[in-house]
Amino acid sequence: MRRVVVAGYGMAGARFAEELRRREPDPERIALTVLGEESQRAYNRILLSTVVAGSMPEESVLLHDESWAQQHNVDLRLGVAAQRIDRSSRQVTLTDDSTVDYDALVLATGSRAFVPPIDGVRADDGDLADGVATFRTIDDCRRIVGRAKQGCLAVVLGGGLLGLEAARGLAGRGCRVTVVHLAGHLMERQLDPSGGRVLRGALEAMGIEFRMGTSVAGYLPGDGVKLSDGGYLPADLLVVSAGVRAETTLAAEAGLDVAQGVVIDDALRTSDARIHAIGDCASHPGTISGLVAPAWDQAAVLADLLSGVDPTARYRGTPVVTRLKAKGIDLAALGETQISVDAEDAEVVRVQDPARGLYAKLVLRGERVAGAIVLGAPDAAATITQLYDHGTPAPEDRLALLLGRALPEAAAVASSPAALPASSVICRCNTVSKADLVSAWRDGARSVDGLATATRATTGCGSCKDLVCGLADWLTSVDPA
C-alpha cells in the first residue's frame, strides 16, 4: 500500500484527490489523506466573483458534497494543516501535533492575498481593519457582501483581473465603485495600453470610476482612503486586490528549493523526489501561476504518475487564456499581447471601435495564433481561443475572424426572385431549383398550386411557400399568361 498525503484542500488539492481516485479507487492500494486548513469543504474559487455579484449562493460553489470523502475512501481532515515536514522519516506533523506518514507528499497549499503595507488597513492585532477585505476566500466574500449594500461607497485597490471582477460584482449590487490602479492601464499583465483603455471605457459605461497611476496611501476606518497622489476618496468598503503570494512557508522550512513558489520540474517534483507541488504554491518554468487551468492540468499529470497509470506523464505547461468574468463585459486575452502593431517579426491585425466597446488584436506567427486580445466580440474570442489551443492555422480572412464574422450568415434571401440565380434551390425538401420552377411555369403551371403539382415544391416542410409565391408573382409580371 502506498500512502499519499495532500497538504491543502483547495482547487488543486481537491482536484488531485478526485483525479487520483478516478485512476485508483482502491484504498488498499493507495491510502489517500487530504489536509484542509479551513474547517469547511473545498470550494471553487473561480466562482467567488459570482457570489460577490450575488447571482450564486455560497453553497453552490462547494466542490464536494458531505459524503464525498467517505464515498471515495479519502481520509479528509478539516481544520488542520501541515505544520512541519520531516523528510528523513517521511512524516508530516499537523497543527494539532498529530503525525501522518507518507510515501508521496503533495503540496497544494495555494497562495494568499498580498496586502501592501498601507497605513490603517490592519488593526492593532494584525487582522484587516474594519471595512477592509481581500478577495481570495469565501470568508472574504462574506465580508465584502456584508458591507456591499445598495449605495455603499466601495474602493477597489488593484485593476487586475480579480479587482475588476470584484468591482463589477459590487457595481451590480448597487455600490458606487472606484478602482484605484497604479499602472497606466487596466490588467496591464494581460492587455496592451489600447486594450486597457477600451476596457476602462466599457466599465465606466457601467458606472465604475477609475483613478489610474496612483495607489492607496492610507485608510481611515469609517471614512475613506487617502491616495498617494494626494487625493481622497470616501469609502465604506476597501477591497484590496493587489496580487497573491505563493504559500511556501512549509516547503521553505523543510529545506526545499523555493523561488516565487516551490520549484518543480516536469514531473511536478520538488527538490525532494518524494515531495510534489501543484497549483498556486508551485513554480514551474514557463507557467504563470494563479490560474486554475494549470493547477488542473498538473493535478491530472500527477495523478497519472502517483497512480502508476502513466509513469511517463509529464507536465509541459498550460497555454494561458485569461477571461474576465464580469457581467456585460466579454474579454479574452491570450499569449503575446503586448507586441506592437508595427512589429516586423509577427503579423499583427487590430480593429478598434472604442465607442462600441470593441477592441480586437490578433498576433500571428507562421499562420498560427500567437496572441490575442478580444474585447466585445464573443464569437471571435471563442474561435480564436480554439485556434490558439489547437494550433490550427488561422483563416485567410483575418478581419472576418477578428470581427467574429468568419461564419457567414445564412444566404440572404434575394430582394427579388428575379435576382436569384437559376440554379439556386428553392425547395430543399424536393430539390427544386428556380430553373425547374421557371420551366414548369413556361410549360403551363401558372399558379402556386400548379407549380407545386408540377415540381413538388412546397410539398415537404412548406417553408419555401413564400418564396414560391414571390416567384409566381414575378413570373406573372414578366410573363403574363
Binding site: I46, M56, A382, E396, S463
Partner: protein, 692 residues
C-alpha cells in the same frame, strides 16, 4: 417440405388508393399508394407533406435489379437457386456449425427498419430455433445512447414521450445534434411558431433556420450542455420547486456542473460564454420549451452521457413531464422505436424487458411455449458481434435481415474482413446490397408496401402499414423465411406463424405487463384509426400519448439527474491526423443508401460521395472545389469529391455515409464504444486530407 401458408395474392384493386406510410424514417409520413404511385396524405406527423424520398418511394417497388430468386454462392459466384435448395442449404450449414462449435456459433443481425412483427419473430427465432445469444441489430448504431440515457433518467425509453403535434405550441426548441430539415423535412412544420437553438458543428439547413446556432467542436457537446446548465443555475433560472419535487440527484450533478462555468466550457467547445448564457435565457424565458436530441450528440463513445447531460438541462428547467414542454430524442430509422422494444437487441426480450430478469424470462418463455431456462442470456452488442465474426471465439455463421453492415458499420473495412471470414453468411434483402453481394446465400424478400405490418413511430405511436401491391413472383416475406428455416431446424410450424396479424397477436401477449406494453393494440383498432401510443395495457385503454405528466417510471416516481462529466473524443486530432471528421446524412439518401441509390431522381440529386471542407483547409491540402480528395484515418481511406463550404470549422470535415465501395465514410470511423449503450463513435475521428 414447404408448408408455409400461402397468402391470398390479393392487394387493392387497380386504381384504388391504399393508405400507408413512407418506407424510410421514423416520422412515418402518411401517404397513399395507387398502383404503386405515391400521393401525400394528411397525417399528424407530416400534415400532408412529403420530402423527395417519400415522393419517389414508389420507385423502390419497381427497382430494376429487384431480387426475385434466392441466390447461392458456387465456385465464388452467386447463382440462382430454388427456395427449397436455399433454405435446406442454410439449415444444414447451421446445424453443422452448431454441432461443431456450439449454439452461439450462429448469429443473427436485424434492423430498425423491420416491422414490429419481424423484429419480434427474429428475436424469437434466434432464442428458440437457433438457441443463440448472439443477436443484435443496427439500431445499436442509432438509438442506443438515447435509449440508455432515457432509461437512466426516466425509467423508460420512449423517444418522444409526447405527440409530435405538441411541438406546435413550443416557444423555444433546442435541437442537439439533430438536422431534421434534411433528415425528416416534413417534421420542421411543427416548429412554425418556435425559435430554434441548434447545436451542430456544421451550419446545416436546420441551423440556418435557427434563432441561435451553437457550433461546438465535434465531441464536445457534453461540455456545452454543462456550460449551459451552469448558466441556468448561475443566472437564476433553476426550477427549484420542480427539482425538489420531481427529481433526484441534482446536488451530486451540480458538483460536476459547477466546474463548467461558461468561460471554461467555451475553451473546450469553442462556443462563446455569451451564447451559452443566451441559450440558457431563451430556454428559461419560454413558456413552452423542448430539448430534442439526435444522432449528432448520441453517436459518441460517451453518447449516453452526452444525452444525460441534455436531459439534466431539461430537468433543471423543469421541462420533462410538464404539459407543453419536454425532452425527447428524434428516432431515426422507420421502426427505430418498435425495433428496440421487441427482442432483437442482445440484452432484451419483447415488451422492452431485460433478458436477465427472471420474471421477464418466465413470462416470455411461457408465451413461446418453451422452458425459461432454455432461453440464452445476453449476447454481444452489434459492433462486438461483427468484430468477432469468423474468429476463434466468435460466430461462424451470420443471418442478416434488414441491414447493410458492409456500409453502415464503423471501421467498415475491418467489418468486411470479418464477414469474409465467416463459414456462412445469409442475407435477406430485396436488392443486392453491398452486404448481400458478400453472402453465401441471398434470400429475396418482400418490402414495405408488399406486406402488412406495424411500425412504431418516433412518438411511440403504433401504425399499421398495409399491403398495397402484390410482391413480385419468387419473393417471400421475412416471416415465411423464418418459418421455413425454423421448420428445417426442428421447430413446429405453428410456433412461427407467417401471418403478420397472428404474429402481432402473440407479440401483444409477450409484451403484456412490460414497459412497452402493446397488449391493447389490435390491427382492427389501428384500421379504425385509433391513435395508440404505448403503453396500451388493454383493448379498452386509449393509449398514452403523454408519459410522465404525473410521475416518472422509476419506483419513486422521480426523474434522475446523472452526474456526467466531459472527457472528449476517443481519438483527438494530432500532427499526423490534424482534422476531425464527422459523418451524417443528406436529404436525398437513407442509411446505407441501398434503397435510395436505386431511385433515379435521388441519385441524380446526390450521385457520389463528397467531403465538405472549409476553402482555406482545402487550399492547404492543395484541393479545389470539385476535385477528388482522399480522406484518411488510422482505419482506412475514403475517396470523395471536395465541396467548399465556407461555414465549416477550419478543423472539421464532413462526409455523408450513404455510399458504397471506396466512398464509404465508415471506412474512417472509430469503433470506440460507449460503456453503457455500446454505441460506436461515428461522429468524430481524426483524419487527414490529401489530393486523390
Amino acid at each position: 417440405m414447404d408448408v408455409r401458408v400461402a397468402h391470398a395474392d390479393i392487394a387493392a384493386p387497380v386504381g384504388t388508393a391504399v393508405d400507408t406510410h413512407c418506407p424510410y424514417c421514423a416520422l412515418q409520413c402518411g401517404m397513399s399508394l395507387t398502383d404503386g404511385e405515391v400521393a401525400p396524405r394528411d397525417f399528424p406527423t407530416n400534415r400532408g407533406g412529403l420530402c423527395q424520398k417519400g415522393w419517389t418511394a414508389g420507385s423502390l417497388l419497381r427497382a430494376q435489379d429487384r431480387l426475385t430468386t434466392p441466390l447461392v454462392r458456387e465456385c465464388g459466384v452467386l447463382r440462382p437457386a430454388t427456395w427449397d435448395e436455399a433454405l435446406d442449404l442454410i439449415a444444414t450449414r447451421i446445424r453443422e456449425t452448431q454441432v461443431q462449435h456450439g449454439r452461439d456459433a450462429v448469429a443473427v443481425f436485424g434492423g430498425g427498419g423491420l416491422t414490429n412483427e419481424k423484429a419480434y419473430q427474429l428475436g424469437k427465432f434466434a432464442r428458440v430455433a437457433l438457441g443463440t445469444s448472439q443477436v443484435d441489430y443496427n439500431g445499436r448504431f442509432c438509438m442506443s445512447s438515447a435509449a440508455a440515457a432515457g432509461n437512466r433518467a426516466f425509467g423508460i425509453d420512449r423517444g418522444m414521450p409526447f405527440p409530435v403535434t405538441d411541438l406546435a405550441n413550443a416557444d423555444v426548441v433546442l435541437l442537439a445534434g439533430a438536422n431534421p430539415a434534411e433528415t425528416m423535412p416534413p417534421f420542421v412544420q411543427h416548429f412554425r411558431k418556435s425559435r430554434l437553438i441548434v447545436i451542430d458543428p456544421r451550419r446545416t439547413p436546420t441551423a440556418e433556420s435557427a434563432a441561435l446556432h451553437l457550433r461546438p467542436a465535434p465531441g464536445t457537446d457534453l461540455a456545452l450542455a454543462l456550460g449551459i446548465l451552469h448558466a441556468v443555475v448561475a443566472d437564476g433560472h433553476l426550477r427549484h420547486d420542480y427539482v425538489a419535487e420531481r427529481t433526484f440527484g441534482f446536488e451530486q450533478t451540480w458538483r460536476v456542473v459547477a466546474g463548467w462555468w461558461p468561460e471554461h466550457a467555451e475553451r473546450v467547445t469553442g462556443v462563446s460564454a455569451t451564447d451559452q448564457r443566451r441559450a440558457a435565457a431563451m430556454l428559461a424565458g419560454a413558456d413552452n420549451a423542448y430539448i430534442l436530441t439526435g444522432r449528432g450528440t448520441e453517436q459518441h463513445a460517451r453518447g449516453s452521457d452526452m444525452v444525460s447531460a441534455w436531459i439534466n438541462l431539461a430537468l433543471a428547467l423543469g421541462l420533462p413531464g410538464r404539459a407543453g414542454s419536454g425532452y425527447g430524442c428524434l428516432t431515426g430509422q422507420g421502426n427505430g422505436q418498435g425495433g428496440r422494444e421487441h427482442g432483437q437487441k442482445a440484452d432484451q426480450l419483447p415488451g422492452y424487458r431485460k433478458i436477465n430478469d427472471p420474471a421477464a424470462r418466465e413470462h416470455v418463455a411461457g408465451v413461446w411455449g418453451v422452458p425459461a431456462d432454455s432461453l440464452p442470456g445476453p449476447g454481444r452488442s452489434a459492433y462486438e458481434l461483427l468484430d468477432t465474426l469468423g474468429t476463434d471465439d466468435g460466430p461462424k455463421a451470420l443471418l442478416v435481415f434488414g441491414s447493410n453492415v458492409a456500409v453502415s458499420a464503423p471501421r467498415a473495412a475491418h467489418i468486411t474482413d470479418r464477414l469474409s471470414d465467416l463459414d456462412l453468411l445469409v442475407v435477406a434483402d430485396f436488392v443486392l446490397s453491398e452486404t448481400a453481394e458478400m453472402a453465401d446465400v441471398v434470400l429475396p424478400v418482400t418490402q414495405w408496401a408488399e406486406e402488412d405490418g406495424t411500425m412504431t413511430n418516433l412518438e411511440g405511436r403504433v401504425l399499421l402499414r398495409q399491403r398495397a401491391v402484390v410482391p413480385p413472383m419468387g419473393v417471400r416475406a421475412d416471416l415465411d423465411v423464418l418459418q421455413g428455416l425454423a421448420i428445417r431446424l426442428g421447430q413446429p410450424a405453428q410456433r412461427f406463424p407467417t401471418d403478420p396479424e397472428t404474429v402481432f397477436a402473440e407479440l401483444r401477449r409477450a409484451s403484456a405487463g412490460g414497459p412497452a406494453d402493446y397488449s391493447g393494440v389490435t390491427y382492427q383498432r389501428l384500421r379504425d384509426g385509433d391513435a395508440l401510443h404505448w403503453p396500451v395495457p388493454d383493448v379498452d385503454h386509449p393509449g398514452t400519448p403523454r408519459l410522465f405528466l404525473d410521475r416518472f417510471a422509476h419506483p419513486d416516481g422521480r426523474a434522475r439527474f446523472a452526474p456526467v462529466d466531459h472527457t472528449g473524443p476517443a481519438e483527438p486530432a494530432d500532427a499526423e491526423y490534424p482534422l476531425l471528421a464527422t459523418t451524417g446524412r443528406v436529404l436525398q439518401h437513407y442509411q446505407s443508401g441501398a434503397q435510395t441509390r436505386r431511385v433515379p431522381e435521388l441519385l441524380a440529386a446526390v450521385p457520389e460521395p463528397y467531403v465538405e471542407v472549409h476553402p482555406d483547409t482545402a487550399a492547404r491540402a492543395g484541393l479545389s472545389d470539385g476535385e477528388w480528395a482522399l480522406v484518411s484515418s488510422r482505419r482506412g481511406q475514403v475517396r470523395a469529391r471536395v465541396r467548399h463550404i465556407p461555414s465549416m470549422r477550419l478543423d472539421v470535415v464532413f462526409l455523408p455515409f450513404h455510399f458504397p465501395g471506396t466512398g464509404r465514410a465508415n471506412l474512417l470511423t472509430n469503433p470506440a464504444l460507449d460503456p453503457t449503450s455500446r454505441m460506436p463513435e461515428f461522429k468524430v475521428c481524426a483524419v487527414r486530407l490529401e489530393v486523390a
